[in-house]
């Protein structure tokens, strides 16, 4: 296997992009990544997208994007793993380059979610759950995460306020991210008083519906060294699955796919949680960030809530979590989210994150997750 570096990243502003088509949104970010890498020809490409068939009435997205990115006839592959589609696209691009198959490979992600009604969007997202055996009860995705929250609160004493503090912190971070969908600071009281969605979660505990894309270009480390730029190496990758139905898991206070994927990534990188300088995690709901921060090994089980309260996960804290603003503030175009996490890591590790810059960032981690944790992808990047 060859060592692999990320040599280019690109991401346009996210939000409700009514004036732009699915393909334009993707191509804009992909071109930014290719410009950043200084390449105009790819060897192969991967496109993470969860449900273009429902959101945009368009399948066969890999060919659409290879065509409109001016890259025909290169091999292109659409990757789907619900909300982890982007992270998985990045992993497959990594494997492609590491294997020696191709030298310049693009990993992108796209979802255009606001062309359909809220009900249709909820339906599209619900297909990431066990449609038959969970769906029959009328439970929603917020409802599934709410049941994780209840289990965590009852076992460990995690408080409603601590959940809210995750959202407050991520909005604080996203306030200085020019590409974030919701750039506003909020308070704990605002979260507690916001519209109830699924007890104990309110609307300000939930990531939004978003249009957006992100892209990264990977190449062998030896080739990357000739570009005369900071070298960002992919030093660890991990990927794991768990039961599709939340109710089939014996323990509702941890996420096994996350723990397993992290174990693989740490082992490959030769790193431990204490070696990580910043992490982008999949905060689709506030409780998710708390559980994931424990499942990744940054805190003991049950200590994720108190850690947020103590400011340990703030940008200036012991282990900054989601300096980009996370899914909560930046937005969550599901197929793009995992790639956007890589974009943030690369900018942080290059020292180009501006107001969001984490001090002395040398090793970063990204954790992307599908459904209620039925899949997870973890990457560790290091500046050389």
């Amino acid at each position: 296997m060859r060592d692999v570096a990320v040599v280019g990243v690109g991401m346009q502003e996210w939000g409700e992009l009514w004036g732009k088509s699915t393909r334009d949104i993707f191509v804009e970010s992909a071109l930014l990544a290719m410009d950043d890498a200084g390449v105009d020809q790819l060897g192969a490409m991967y496109v993470g997208s969860m449900s273009p068939g429902i959101f945009a009435a368009q399948e066969h997205l890999e060919s659409v994007m290879a065509d409109y990115l001016g890259q025909l006839p290169i091999p292109a592959t659409r990757v789907e793993s619900a909300c982890a589609s982007g992270g998985l696209a990045f992993r497959l691009a990594y494997v492609n380059v590491a294997s020696g198959m191709h030298d310049v490979v693009l990993a992108g992600g796209i979802e255009k979610m606001t062309d359909v009604s809220g009900g249709e969007a909820t339906h599209a997202l619900s297909t990431a759950a066990d449609m038959k055996w969970e769906g029959v009860s009328g439970v929603t995705f917020p409802g599934l995460y709410a049941m994780l929250a209840v289990a965590h609160m009852e076992r460990y004493g995690t408080t409603r306020e601590q959940l809210a503090m995750v959202s407050v912190k991520n909005h604080e971070n996203g306030y200085s991210n020019s590409r974030a969908q919701f750039r506003m600071k909020i308070t704990v009281d605002q979260v507690l008083d916001s519209v109830k969605v699924a007890d104990p979660l309110n609307i300000l505990d939930c990531s939004p519906i978003t249009d957006g894309a992100a892209a990264a270009v990977l190449m062998p480390l030896e080739m990357a060294k000739k570009l005369g730029k900071p070298i960002i190496q992919v030093i660890g990758t991990g990927h794991a699955t768990d039961t599709i139905a939340l109710h089939d898991r014996a323990d509702l206070t941890t996420l096994r796919a996350v723990t397993e994927a992290a174990k693989q990534a740490y082992a490959m990188a030769g790193k431990q949680p204490a070696d990580i300088d910043l992490v982008e995690v999949h905060d689709c709901f506030t409780i998710a960030e708390i559980i994931v921060s424990e499942s990744l090994g940054f805190f003991e089980p049950g200590k994720g809530g108190p850690a947020v309260e103590a400011g340990e996960t703030a940008r200036t804290g012991r282990i900054p979590i989601n300096p980009s603003g996370g899914l909560k503030s930046k937005g969550h175009p599901v197929g793009a989210t995992g790639v956007a996490q890589i974009v943030e890591l690369v900018e942080q590790l290059r020292g180009q994150a501006g107001e969001r810059q984490v001090k002395d960032a040398r090793v970063g981690m990204a954790q992307n997750m599908g459904g209620s944790g039925g899949s997870s992808v973890v990457h560790i990047l290091e500046v050389k």
Binding site: E120, K132, V139, T140, G143, A146, L148, D199, P200, H247
Partner: protein, 131 residues
């Protein structure tokens, strides 16, 4: 829902049919073809007792369009006395009464209907066992 998809699951949906692995004794609902625990492929099918315990719960206040007429409604993960866990609506209960660990009984109820004059779907809901 396509009729064939409903029809296929009648034994589970209406009779709570589960399968117990002959290798390790673990029970699965719905039945599976291979046991994730011991990789066994032989199962004994049986009807679960309609009783269990609440493992976690929530109140859905913002539902999907299919369930829009029903909100707010309570949902819980129920561990059946026979072992398998299910996600079910919790019926006939004040939201404040719901606690993990409480015993429930499964009852056959109307779930939702498709459209104004469409198909009415029935299924199991959990109700609290009151002392």
């Amino acid at each position: 829902m396509p009729p064939s998809r409903s029809w296929r699951s009648y034994p589970q949906t209406y009779r709570l049919e589960a399968a117990r692995c002959k290798g390790c004794g673990k029970a699965y609902y719905p039945p599976r073809l291979i046991c994730p625990g011991c990789k066994g492929r032989e199962f004994e099918h049986f009807r679960m007792k309609p009783s269990g315990t609440i493992v976690s719960h929530t109140v859905i206040r913002t539902p999907s369009s299919e369930f829009s007429g029903l909100a707010p409604f309570a949902v819980g993960i129920v561990e059946m006395d026979d072992g398998p866990r299910l996600t079910l609506q919790l019926a006939d209960v004040g939201f404040e009464e719901i606690k993990t660990g409480l015993p429930v009984r499964l009852e056959f109820r109307r779930m939702y209907s498709e459209g104004e004059s469409g198909v009415i779907h029935y299924g199991h809901k959990a109700v609290l066992v009151r002392k």
